[in-house]
C-alpha cells in the first residue's frame, strides 16, 4: 500500500541562489506522528511550505493518497485535507475564538452571520478533540497555548486530515507541551496524521512514531523513533557529536553589580508589564530568568538597557542608577546587551562587520580621532574580532546581511563581550541559531562569568536557563514568582509550575535569595 504523503526528489532553489531543499524524499504514513527535525536552515520549514502550497518546488513530485498532485496554494492544500499551524499564529486578535474558527466559512442565518451557531460549532469541535478553548473570549485575551489550540481547531474545522505543526512547543511551558502532546495523540487515535517540526530531541523521543532528520537541505534519514537514541539523531543533525551538557566551573560569587528594587513598568497602552521587581546580580554569576514569553522578560531587559522608561523603582550598576538614560549612557556605565531581536536591535544589516562591532564605541578614541572615524583602525579591530570569535566571514568589510544567523549572532556577541562589561544582559542569546554557534555562545558566557562579569540571562529555552545559570528566578505576569538559589537543584517540572502561575513563593521568603 502506498503512503499517505510521498514527496519525491523535491528540490527548491530560491531566486537568491539558496538551495533550501536538495532532492528530498519524504513520506508519511496514515495515522502516524512524524517528527521532522534539523537545525535552523536545514530546510524543514521550506519542505513543509511546499507541501502546504506556500512555495512551489523547483523540481520533484508530490503524491497524496497514491495520486500525483500539484498543490498550488494553501487553500488548495486545505481542500485536500492538509492543515498547517504556523509559528506565528494566523489569527485575528480582536475577534473571538469562535469567530476565528469559522472565519472564511461563517454560518449564515437569513444573510447575517449566525454567531450562536459559530459558538456551537466551536464548542462541539473542542469537545470532540479534547482541545479546551474559551469560545467567546477574544484572541488577544487568551494565553498562547490556547491560541495554538484555536489554530488546530480551525484546521480541523476546515477538514484537515493531515496536520503540520511548525515548532509548536517553542512558545509553550512544559505543562502546556504535555497537554499538547496528549491532544496530538488523541488526534492520531481518530485517524489524523501529524507532522511535527522541531529541533528538540527530547520531544522527538516523547511524541513521534518516526523521525526524519534534515541537514543542509537534504534528508539524512528516516528512523523509527523507538529504535533511535537522542545522540544518534543529534549526530545525524549536525554531523558530529554534540555536548548536551554545559561544563562550567563552580561559581565564584563577588560583590553586587546590579541591584534592582521595586522596578515597575507600565506600557503606554496602560498594561502593567513589570510589577515591583527586585533582585541582585553578583559579579561572577549567571542569574537566569525563566518564564513563558510575554510575562515581562522583554520589558525587564529593555528597561535595564535604556530602551524603555521605568515607571518607578530603581536599578543600579555599581551604585549608579541606570534607569531612564539613553542606551549610550547605560552602556558607558558598563552594561552590555545582547538583544533578543537580533535583526532589529542587534545588527545593522547593510553595515559591514567592522562597523557593527564598533557601533557602541565609534565616537571614542581610538575609533575616532579629531572628529573623524579612523577607518583603518576600525577595520583592523573588526578583523581581530572575526579571528577571536571565529566568525565565518571572509573579512570585516562584508555586510552583516551576507552572514548566516549564527554568525550574525557571533558579531553581536563579539561586540558586546569586547567592551569589558561589568554587567552583561543576554536576551535569548541563542535563539534561532544552530547547535555549533549555540555551543560557542554558551562557552563565551561561561568564560565571561569566570572573568567576574555579572550576567543576566533571559531565555525561553528552559534547558539553556537550567544548564547555564547559577541562580534562577521565574517571571510570571510581570512579577518574580519564584527564586531558586541553586540552579542545579531544580527540576523542569518545578520551574514549569511557577512559569504557569500555578505556584508562587512568598515574597518575604524570596527576599533573602534575590
Amino acid at each position: 500500500m502506498s503512503s499517505l504523503i510521498e514527496m519525491r526528489q523535491i528540490s527548491k532553489l530560491y531566486p537568491n541562489g539558496v538551495l533550501a531543499n536538495d532532492r528530498v524524499d519524504f513520506s508519511v504514513e496514515r495515522g502516524e506522528i512524524h517528527a521532522l527535525v534539523g537545525e535552523n536552515g536545514a530546510g524543514k520549514t521550506t519542505l513543509m511550505k511546499i507541501l502546504y502550497g506556500m512555495e512551489a518546488p523547483t523540481e520533484g513530485e508530490i503524491w497524496l493518497r497514491g495520486q500525483r498532485v500539484h498543490i498550488r496554494s494553501p487553500i488548495d492544500a486545505i481542500r485536500r485535507g492538509i492543515g498547517m499551524v504556523h509559528q506565528n499564529f494566523m489569527l485575528i486578535p480582536s475577534f473571538t475564538v469562535a469567530q476565528n474558527i469559522v472565519l472564511g466559512r461563517e454560518p449564515l442565518d437569513r444573510g447575517l452571520v449566525n454567531y450562536t451557531e459559530a459558538l456551537r460549532i466551536t464548542e462541539q469541535l473542542s469537545k470532540e478533540y479534547g482541545l479546551k478553548v474559551e469560545a467567546d473570549a477574544t484572541i488577544d485575551s487568551i494565553p498562547v497555548g490556547m491560541r495554538q489550540r484555536v489554530e488546530i481547531l480551525k484546521a480541523l474545522h476546515w477538514g484537515a486530515e493531515i496536520l503540520i505543526l511548525d515548532e509548536p512547543t517553542a512558545v509553550l511551558t512544559p505543562q502546556e507541551t504535555r497537554e499538547l502532546f496528549t491532544a496530538i495523540r488523541k488526534l492520531t487515535e481518530r485517524g489524523k496524521t501529524v507532522i511535527f517540526i522541531t529541533h528538540k530531541l527530547r520531544e522527538v523521543k516523547e511524541i513521534s512514531d518516526r523521525v526524519t532528520v534534515m541537514r543542509n537541505g537534504r534528508v539524512m534519514g528516516t528512523l523509527k523513533t523507538a529504535e533511535a537514541s537522542e545522540t544518534q539523531i543529534a549526530r545525524m543533525m549536525v554531523g558530529r557529536e554534540v555536548f548536551m551538557v554545559v561544563d562550567k566551573p563552580p561559581v565564584q560569587r563577588g560583590g553586587v553589580v546590579l541591584q534592582v528594587r521595586d522596578l515597575t513598568h507600565i506600557a503606554e497602552t496602560g498594561h502593567v508589564r513589570l510589577r515591583n521587581i527586585s533582585f541582585n546580580v553578583y559579579a561572577g554569576e549567571i542569574l537566569g530568568v525563566a518564564g513563558v514569553e510575554g510575562n515581562g522578560q522583554t520589558e525587564l531587559v529593555e528597561v535595564l538597557a535604556g530602551l524603555r522608561p521605568a515607571t518607578f523603582g530603581t536599578a543600579m550598576v555599581d551604585g549608579q542608577s541606570l534607569l531612564n538614560h539613553t542606551p549610550r549612557k547605560v552602556r558607558e556605565l558598563g552594561v552590555s546587551h545582547i538583544p533578543e531581536d537580533r535583526l532589529t536591535y542587534g545588527v545593522a544589516l547593510d553595515a559591514n562587520v567592522a562597523e557593527n562591532t564598533v557601533v557602541d564605541r565609534y565616537y571614542r578614541p581610538p575609533f575616532t580621532r579629531n572628529g573623524f572615524l579612523s577607518v583603518g583602525f576600525i577595520m583592523e579591530f573588526g578583523n581581530g574580532l572575526i579571528r577571536q570569535f571565529s566568525i565565518m566571514a571572509p573579512d570585516a568589510s562584508v555586510p552583516v546581511r551576507a552572514l548566516s544567523g549564527g554568525n550574525m549572532q557571533k558579531v553581536v556577541v563579539a561586540r558586546e563581550f569586547s567592551s569589558q562589561p561589568r554587567l552583561l544582559i543576554a536576551a535569548q542569546p541563542t535563539r534561532g541559531i544552530d547547535v555549533g554557534a549555540t555551543e560557542f555562545v554558551h562557552q563565551q558566557l561561561i568564560q565571561k562569568r569566570s572573568e567576574g562579569c555579572a550576567i543576566l540571562l533571559v531565555s525561553a529555552d528552559l534547558n539553556e536557563v537550567m544548564s547555564l545559570s547559577d541562580r534562577i528566578v521565574v517571571m510570571y505576569n510581570g512579577a518574580i514568582v519564584g527564586v531558586f538559589p541553586d540552579a542545579q537543584k531544580v527540576t523542569e517540572e518545578e520551574l514549569g509550575a511557577y512559569m504557569l502561575g500555578l505556584k508562587k513563593q512568598d515574597p518575604a521568603e524570596m527576599e533573602a535569595y534575590l
Binding site: 494566523m90 485575528i92 503606554e268
Partner: protein
C-alpha cells in the same frame, strides 16, 4: 452684550438643528473612511472624492432636471475614482497616501476646470439652474416646539446618514463581507490563509468609502448649499478621517465625533456675528480637530499614568500593612 446674544443663540433649538446640519457632510465621508480604515487601507482621498460628487451632482441635475439622477451619477463618479485609487494601490503598488493626495489635488483643480468649461466661472456654479435634494418634515415631530426645529426639516441625506450609522454597524459586525473587511485590516495574512481574497475585499472597502464620500459631496452641493463652489469641502474629508480615529474606529463613535466637529463648525458660523476677526472664527473647526486628536492621544497616556498611580497606592498600602517588610 453681543456675547450674550451668541450664548443665547447657541443654547437654542435652532443651534442644535444647525449642528446636525453641518455634521452631516462630515459624518458621511467619515463612515466611508471608517470602512476603508478597517480594511487596512487609509483613504485620504475622501476630500477629492467629495468634490467630484459635489460638482457632478450639480451639473447632472442642472442638465437633466432630476436631482436624484444627479445624486446617483455624482456618487457613481466618486465610487469610480475610489476604484481607481484602489487600482493604483492594490495593483500598481503605489503608496496609498501619496495616490490619495494626488487624487485630492487633481480633483480640486479638475472640478474648477470643468466648472469653467461649463459656466465660464471659476468660483461657483451659480449660473447653472441646479437642483437640491428635498428636505423632509417629520410628521409628528415637525409641529413640536423644541424637537421640531432640532430634528425636523433636515435634508434627506441627513436622515440617510443617521440610518447608515446603524446599517454600517450591521454590515461590519454581522455580515460576512463586513467581518472579512475587518479581518483583512487586522491581519491580512491570516485572512488570506482561510481563503479570503484580500485584494478584492480592499477594493470593495475603498469603493464603499467612495460611495459614502460621494454622498457627503452631494450633501454639500445639493443640500447644505444649492450650488457648487470651488474647494467647497474645505477640509471636511480630512476632518472626517480625524473623526474615524477620534471615534475609536466604531460606527457610533464616529457619529459622535462627527457631531463634535459639527458643533465646532456651527459655533464658528454662529460667532461670525461677533466683532472678532473672521479668520479667528474660521479657525475653530480645524483647531478643534487638532485639539481633539491631541486629547485623544493624551487620554491613552493619562489612563496609563492613572493606573500607575493606583498601583503605587496599592503597593504603599501593602507596605504599610506589612510594616515595611
Amino acid at each position: 452684550m453681543s456675547f450674550d446674544v451668541v450664548l443665547r443663540s447657541i443654547l437654542s433649538a435652532a443651534f442644535v438643528g444647525s449642528v446636525i446640519r453641518v455634521a452631516t457632510p462630515i459624518l458621511l465621508p467619515a463612515l466611508g473612511g471608517l470602512i476603508s480604515e478597517l480594511a487596512g487601507v487609509t483613504n485620504v482621498a475622501l476630500e477629492g472624492l467629495m468634490l467630484i460628487a459635489a460638482l457632478v451632482g450639480v451639473v447632472i441635475s442642472a442638465f437633466t432636471g432630476n436631482a436624484w439622477l444627479g445624486c446617483l451619477i455624482g456618487v457613481a463618479c466618486s465610487a469610480v475614482v475610489a476604484i481607481l485609487l484602489a487600482y493604483f494601490h492594490l495593483n500598481l503598488k503605489a503608496d496609498i497616501i501619496l495616490s490619495g493626495l494626488a487624487i485630492n489635488i487633481a480633483s480640486s483643480g479638475g472640478t474648477i476646470f470643468i466648472l469653467y468649461l461649463l459656466t465660464k466661472d471659476k468660483g461657483s456654479s451659480s449660473k447653472l439652474a441646479s437642483l437640491s435634494l428635498p428636505r423632509i418634515a417629520i410628521p409628528v415631530l415637525d409641529g413640536m416646539p423644541v424637537l421640531g426645529p432640532m430634528l425636523s426639516r433636515h435634508n434627506v441625506l441627513t436622515y440617510v446618514a443617521v440610518l447608515l450609522v446603524f446599517l454600517i454597524w450591521v454590515f461590519l459586525y454581522r455580515t460576512r463581507l463586513g467581518i472579512h473587511i475587518r479581518a483583512v485590516g487586522e491581519n491580512a495574512e491570516a485572512a488570506g490563509s482561510v481563503g479570503i481574497n484580500v485584494r478584492r475585499t480592499r477594493y470593495i472597502a475603498l469603493m464603499l468609502s467612495g460611495v459614502m464620500a460621494g454622498l457627503g459631496g452631494i450633501n454639500m452641493s445639493m443640500g447644505y448649499l444649492n450650488m457648487f463652489q470651488r474647494d467647497m469641502t474645505a477640509g471636511r474629508g480630512f476632518i472626517a478621517l480625524a473623526a474615524v480615529h477620534l471615534g475609536n474606529r466604531r460606527p457610533l463613535g464616529v457619529a459622535l465625533a462627527s457631531l463634535f466637529f459639527g458643533f465646532a463648525d456651527a459655533l464658528s458660523n454662529q460667532l461670525g456675528s461677533l466683532a472678532i476677526p473672521p479668520q479667528w472664527v474660521q479657525m475653530i473647526p480645524y483647531a478643534a480637530t487638532v485639539l481633539a486628536l491631541v486629547v485623544y492621544a493624551l487620554q491613552g497616556r493619562a489612563a496609563a499614568v492613572e493606573r500607575a498611580r493606583r498601583l503605587q497606592e496599592r503597593l504603599q498600602a501593602h507596605v504599610e500593612a506589612t510594616g515595611g517588610e
